[in-house]
């Protein structure tokens, strides 16, 4: 059952008042969010000197992930596009500062001031074009470019994301690399379908020892949490309901049926001996210039069908 909020509506519309409240009152979502933020914070690999850092939470929503940051003593600035989510965050009296903004428009922050950035299940929203003026590539470019500028040298950014397919992952990764980040994807529990989690770990600056990507959890397949509770497993992703957006372009994926099928069809017609003056054409798209067979069943010639097979070159028509 696929149920991706990204496919349902733009974030500022999807997370309306009811959805924002629902999101924040679900103990399951709270738990998942805090686990994800814990892990993201761990992957940030902040220097362990007891000095609180100034972090950025991109797509902070109602501040669930920010709470984890506060618990660890850090100060944070949260950015989200949904006013309703931020209202809930205000009600919950989160400690960080909140900004209403669109990450695809670029972050309006000063250069080299932020010690690290996390983002929980948010960056994949950038792959959608919700308005005619949206271009995912440009929005990703604006986002990663501005993030790179505002992070201090050597600082890390960790994004937990749910890419819809391999192309989205590639698009996000390439945009990050083009902005100058080094790093890669860390996959936790890669063998599990439900508890598999992807983190994009990026470091500001050229590749070095410190920029090496840490290992994912459960890569050996032993500590895979997939086994423990099957009912919980079902609920591992933070999604709500199913609503598909109609596909704009239908891909023609049907392969040509081949010569054998064509011949078989011919045989069937021969057996049936249809008397009506029907014309049946069979396309075979196996070759570039398709074989077009026209079968005429003629009523005057009483049950004697004759075949005209001719090769049509597509271009000459």
């Amino acid at each position: 059952m696929s149920s991706r909020p990204e496919l349902q509506a733009p974030p500022e519309i999807f997370y309306d008042d009811t959805e924002a409240r629902k999101y924040t009152s679900s103990s399951r979502i709270i738990e998942i969010q805090s686990i994800l933020s814990e892990r993201a914070l761990e992957l940030l690999a902040l220097t362990d000197d007891g000095v609180p850092k100034l972090l950025l939470d991109i797509g902070c929503g109602s501040g669930l992930s920010g709470e984890t940051l506060s618990e660890n003593g850090h100060h944070w600035i949260g950015l989200d596009i949904s006013q309703s989510m931020l209202n809930v965050a205000v009600e919950r009296e989160v400690e960080g500062d909140l900004l209403l903004g669109d990450m695809g428009q670029g972050l309006g922050l000063r250069h080299h001031v932020i010690d690290g950035a996390i983002s929980i299940s948010a960056v994949q929203w950038l792959c959608n074009a919700d308005k005619s003026s949206h271009n995912p590539r440009l929005r990703l470019k604006a986002f990663f470019g501005s993030l790179y500028r505002c992070l201090a040298t050597g600082a890390r950014a960790v994004f937990q994301l749910y890419p819809e397919n391999i192309h989205q992952r590639e698009l996000i990764l390439t945009s990050a690399m083009r902005a100058g980040f080094s790093g890669g994807v860390v996959v936790d529990y890669p063998h599990s379908t439900k508890s598999r989690k992807e983190y994009l770990v990026l470091t500001c600056g050229p590749p070095s020892i410190s920029t090496s990507v840490p290992k994912g959890k459960g890569e050996d397949g032993e500590s895979c949490s997939d086994d423990d509770s099957s009912e919980d497993e079902e609920n591992q992703t933070v999604c709500i309901s199913d609503r598909h957006r109609p596909r704009k372009r239908q891909k023609i994926s049907k392969r040509g049926k081949g010569r054998e099928w064509v011949l078989k069809e011919e045989g069937t017609y021969e057996k049936q001996r249809k008397c009506c003056a029907s014309r049946h054409k069979i396309h075979s798209s196996e070759t570039k210039a398709p074989l077009l067979i026209i079968i005429w069943h003629c009523s005057w010639c009483s049950h004697i069908p004759f075949y005209i097979s001719c090769l049509w070159r597509m271009a000459c028509c």
């Binding site: 100034l54 428009q105 000063r110 932020i114 590539r137 049509w312």
Partner: protein, 155 residues
């Protein structure tokens, strides 16, 4: 919004070369006391634009910060206290942030600045979309079949 965030924010409207600092229009300022953390303040001091912080705190009604500051002052408890108060305890609850170059107002409601830009203020223009090579291909294919059909019916 605390002044620490104000000190980080700059306007990223298209064509703006220096969007920092955003001018504050304060309508409602609240103070929320928090525990002082000298380590964090020392870490932040190097990143803070002092002049912007002093100006902002004066607009918010707190004038105790000195005009100039240097790292040696961080050893003084009195200075730390003031710095802490201005940076982390003053909240701009209602008002606006104004871009210094274009005078565009970013309203602050319930402590949340609305930094959403209009489409004409975006840095990135609508570009030519890439990777859409699939569409014309399929279209041309359909046309060819259409041609076939028409030519057949004509014959």
């Amino acid at each position: 919004m605390r002044l620490i965030t104000h000190n980080m924010l700059s306007s990223n409207i298209k064509g703006v070369t220096n969007g920092f600092p955003l001018r504050i229009e304060a309508e409602k300022v609240v103070e929320k006391p928090v525990e002082i953390d000298p380590k964090f303040l020392k870490n932040m001091f190097v990143k803070i634009d002092w002049k912007a912080l002093v100006d902002a705190s004066r607009i918010m009604g707190y004038a105790d910060l000195p005009d100039e500051a240097n790292p040696s002052m961080l050893e003084l408890d009195e200075f730390l206290q003031k710095f802490h108060h201005a940076l982390l305890e003053l909240h701009l609850e209602e008002g606006a942030l104004v871009c210094p170059q274009t005078d565009r107002r970013f309203p602050v409601i319930k402590g949340i600045p609305n930094m959403l830009l209009h489409e004409d203020e975006l840095f990135l223009q609508r570009g030519v979309s890439h990777g859409g090579g699939g569409t014309p291909k399929t279209q041309s294919r359909t046309f060819k079949y259409l041609d076939l059909n028409t030519s057949l019916s004509c014959a």
